[in-house]
Symmetry: C2
């Protein structure tokens, strides 16, 4: 480990000062910004998320804002999921692919108006990608990064907390839907969403100068529920079967390989980037698929930093992409991106730090 701090190529979020005050201990870069990834007490952070409520600086989840007469057409061109039924106020989880059908992002697309969208993106330069496609096709759209920074509130007590601040109307928000809100003059959109399966909301702050103010309001209001800081949880998200674009995918991964096939509409027109390649991949059958891996009897340990080789009969059959010690499974679990020759129940070995650890392939999600 070594130090990291902001620099002119590595921006901070509006919640940065608050995260320092809360005692953040580790960052990872994400969309050229600092993302908090630990506050130094993994069991407490997991417990808050599972049993109480946790607040996360996810300002790194940048928005690509697309407006103008061709905005809707451009967003569909970039999305391999059919968005024709998406209405204003609704969000959709959407795989985006390059011309090879390889996944380049999995944003939530928020429809703010018929000609106004946000792509709430994972870690990759989709701003530049969207501009390239729009310009090459002569589409009329304005594509920018607006001043929008999400603050996630996650956990079983999140709804009570958010309702206590903003009113009971938030209880009626459907999953991925969003609405305008304001508190003490701080403007935002509130969505029912977040990178966990424990329930919750994301407050899309739309004035970056008010980050500390919003953080403190949530922090204060959350005291009765024992709120504390957290981050996208490296173990809970695996237990819950959530994908990390770029963490669980490589430069060859298509959506079918990582359980996103149900979000791919192969009947979309040919001008959707990647759709022709995906039809061919589907016809030929994907070569890899994502399964769970449960290692035998592993003690509590840190998560891992590189993909590990997965072996069967001493031959490499895939990779363990991310994993960690699961409090619920009481051993190390993770994702296998493995040959479709392998199936649920198969025994495998994982090469970790020069040592082979035995485990079993399982269905996903774990919970």
């Amino acid at each position: 480990m070594a130090e990291i701090g902001p620099n002119t190529r590595l921006r901070v979020s509006p919640f940065y000062d608050s995260t320092l005050a809360e005692g953040v201990t580790a960052f990872s870069p994400y969309n050229s910004m600092l993302m908090p990834v630990s506050y130094g007490d993994a069991p407490a952070e997991y417990d808050r998320l599972m049993n109480g409520v946790s607040m996360w600086d996810v300002g790194v989840q940048r928005q690509v804002e697309i407006t103008g007469p061709d905005a809707a057409r451009l967003v569909q061109t970039l999305s391999v999921r059919d968005l024709s039924a998406c209405v204003v106020g609704q969000g959709k989880y959407v795989p985006m692919c390059d011309h090879r059908g390889v996944l380049i992002n999995d944003p939530v697309v928020l429809k703010l108006a018929e000609d106004h969208f946000w792509l709430s993106i994972a870690d990759n330069n989709i701003l530049m990608w969207a501009r390239a496609i729009a310009q090459e096709r002569g589409m009329v759209a304005t594509i920018t990064e607006p001043d929008v920074s999400p603050l996630a509130i996650q956990g079983p007590k999140a709804e009570d907390l958010v309702a206590s601040i903003f009113g009971d109307w938030v209880r009626d928000l459907k999953y991925f839907w969003f609405a305008d809100a304001e508190i003490h003059g701080i403007p935002m959109k509130i969505a029912r969403s977040g990178y966990s399966k424990q329930g919750g909301f994301e407050l899309y702050l739309t004035d970056g100068s008010r980050g500390t103010g919003l953080w403190n309001i949530v922090r204060e209001a959350g005291q009765p529920w024992g709120i504390g800081p957290g981050t996208p949880n490296p173990v809970e998200r695996i237990e819950s079967g959530l994908l990390s674009y770029g963490g669980d995918t490589d430069d060859l991964t298509n959506p079918f390989e990582v359980r996103l096939g149900r979000y791919v509409d192969l009947t979309l027109p040919d001008d959707v980037v990647g759709i022709k390649a995906l039809r061919q991949i589907k016809a030929e059958g994907p070569k890899r698929h994502q399964l769970g891996i449960v290692l035998d009897d592993q003690p509590r340990q840190s998560g891992h930093a590189v993909w590990y080789d997965v072996l069967q009969n001493a031959e490499k059959v895939g990779s363990m992409t991310n994993g960690g010690w699961s409090p619920r499974k009481e051993t190390v679990i993770g994702y296998g991106l493995v040959s479709t020759n392998l199936k649920i129940g198969d025994r495998v070995e994982v090469l970790r730090g020069g040592k082979l650890d035995a485990g079993t392939l399982t269905a996903l999600p774990f919970y």
Copy 2:
């Protein structure tokens, strides 16, 4: 400051273990990898670069490899500099722009064969960009990230050191030219290049499994010249007038604003991405330009992490993009990206940490 370490979205270079062994104290992300940015002794690192020889892990300087029948046409399409006179074995420093004429990278383009190029890139996803343009235009080219990781050897003693390892032929390499080499079976290309003005070479290692071996060979051979570890130097590069793409540029910066106009050939055909926009920008005259800033009598201090406002008569006239304490100027110097209404010799004020510091605009480079 908080900790950073590798993760599955943040790769390490083949020299990572060596940099840990040398005592690296800080990293910055760059092209989704960890780039060493300090070994904890700034004066010694500066001194080695200025007076001796320094070795840098710049494996983050990824290559975008382009091959195939349309390779040359694609590389020119992406480059606003005329490459028609570039021959095999030669490299060229090349601004790349988006359709707005905004700088998106400034790689060295290495021509390995008539249909084989590397773009040795700064921090941005040019792999994805190049694929987008090629596919949208139906060009036949293969675009990949090969196993290539540069190790920079910089400083006035670099040539003697590199000649002692590889032979006196390296002394005949012209600036940005390169040639194949091998030592103890470790394959690489050697280029006369590097992100300093103190002279030196970059060893483009082409087998990532041999990073520690190559590091140790250079480290051992460099002992007579007092070699030690270093990083792209945050102060020497400013003294020398070198640009940091993404550090000194923003989402609106065109090449004319940051002294790259001499690398822009406006007579290139319209199909070069950005060239039409650049002709218009040139005709209208750029609104900003990059000048030096010398602050009055500043004590030794750390570099800075954000752009500072530059003021004249209490009005914002631009930004100080990067700066640091210069051992040669014995005060803080930096770059101003300021209105073209301002000129060399003007007095300005820089808002740093809530305080206005006076300074003078100067010509670049400082040395």
